[in-house]
Symmetry: C2
Subunit: 285 residues, 2 copies
């Protein structure tokens, strides 16, 4: 039996270990650093089994999925680079890709690395919030190396399908990071900035789904997002400058009292969104 090793059983790693159970002829092994996490995983069927003794598993894993924060992944690659099974595939789940792909350059030539970012998650962290359905209908982004083996890319695509992803998108680490600054990191900066308003606590009872939708992710994992923002700072700063300019335009036309201009501006923006046509989260929950 072949083996997939999920290193790090937090929200994403835990969910992945649950979602991958039963995938082809692979045993799904979870590795964690704390006994309590291993106990939780074994009690709740997170993967086929969970263990503290990573050293025994790593040299036998056909696929190793690194599910720590970016710094943790880069550290892990450096300190364990000689322990991966030759011919095996190493991948990750992290929200920046350039820093990870650079970190993976230390791997021996016979170990393949494909960057991976499933566009899924919640504002919670920890294995106790993990659930097998997390990846249903979400995009999965791959940043293969130029030398990545086609059979490994095909394997990633089968795993993506198995865990319920809507599609698999292949791109470069640079393009991933440029776009994710906009679609993900900036959304988190907006959410925390909205929550910095002194009216936050007085608005209880006055909020609807637009407020909950926009601010949900503000309850973020502080250490993780400090890393994600920092490792993608130039792209994120550019996106924020663009947003500040667009918000300021709306602020000025609203303050001016020019209804006609506001109407035309809203028609343009709303038309763009309708053309984009993304499904929103369910409002009835």
């Amino acid at each position: 039996m072949k083996k997939i090793l999920v290193v790090g059983l937090g929200l994403i790693g835990g969910s992945l270990a649950m979602a991958l159970k039963g995938f082809e002829d692979y045993e799904i092994v979870g590795a964690a650093r704390r006994q309590a996490t291993v106990d939780y995983a074994n009690a709740h069927g997170v993967g086929d089994r969970a263990t503290l003794t990573l050293g025994e598993e790593l040299p036998q894993a056909d696929v190793t999925i690194l599910c720590m924060d970016p710094d943790g992944i880069v550290d892990f690659l450096r300190s364990h680079r000689a322990e991966f099974k030759p011919g095996s595939l190493v991948t990750d789940v992290c929200g920046v890709k350039s820093a990870i792909m650079t970190g993976a350059e230390c791997l021996p030539e016979e170990v393949d690395f494909i960057g991976c970012h499933p566009m899924a998650g919640t504002e919670f962290s920890g294995i106790e919030h993990a659930f097998a359905e997390m990846f249903q209908h979400s995009h999965l982004i791959l940043t293969p190396r130029e030398t990545s083996r086609l059979e490994h890319i095909a394997l990633m695509e089968r795993m993506a399908r198995y865990i319920g992803c809507r599609d698999v998108v292949k791109t470069t680490p640079q393009e991933h990071d440029a776009i994710l600054a906009y679609t993900s990191q900036m959304m988190h900066v907006i959410a925390v900035s909205v929550c910095d308003d002194e009216n936050l606590f007085t608005c209880r009872g006055f909020e609807g789904s637009s407020f909950r939708g926009c601010t949900r992710v503000a309850a973020l994992d502080v250490e993780l997002w400090t890393q994600l923002f920092s490792l993608n700072a130039p792209a994120l700063t550019m996106c924020l400058d663009t947003l500040l300019a667009h918000l300021k335009e709306y602020r000025d036309v609203i303050a001016s009292g020019d209804r006609e201009k506001l109407n035309a501006k809203l028609a343009l923006s709303a038309g763009r969104k309708r053309e984009m046509d993304l499904p929103g989260p369910d409002l009835l929950s």
Copy 2:
């Protein structure tokens, strides 16, 4: 049998007429201006019946719920002020309250008016998107007059419970508008501003739930939101200035590369959000 007249069978009016069916001993009558809307309503059980002939219904309605846009409500109050049943209750569903309460001052003394704003809705408009469950778990805000009859407030509270609202909050029109600028109108300005980014269409396949949650409402009803923003422009402008300042602070600390400061700032914002503890929309849909 008593009668509740829902004037305007769009997204909110249609949903309300559906949700109110069976409420106590009231007949739920919907009034619309277009035959197609009336036909749709009668075919889909929106209320007990729908009609084009408002003039016959209005003088007999014990409760009249105005479900048009703000300008439409103010116009309606002025042009029909002599037709409401003496002793009856008139209310509305609109997202600004000062302008509506001022508009309602034209009503004769024997007609009561209570401002109402159910914190529910979707980014769609029109009766074909209406659904009876829309108000489940949402807040309902009331802005009664000082002279509003207690039995009318109690009636509104019973209706709110019947359609599934989580709670009923009473406040002044001024406070409503100040807070809603923050919790609702600003969320819509954020959503459209994010969609103004030239990267919008290239980000397909790279978006997750945070992006969908933040931008969902950008596909807004342009005429309605032009009115809502304009009628609450001073409060909304103030909120946007605060947001611009908070976003700029994040932009600067991210650009500076000072990880420690960023970490501390995120810890503060995320802590505020956790203390707020609002449920987010379901992510699994």
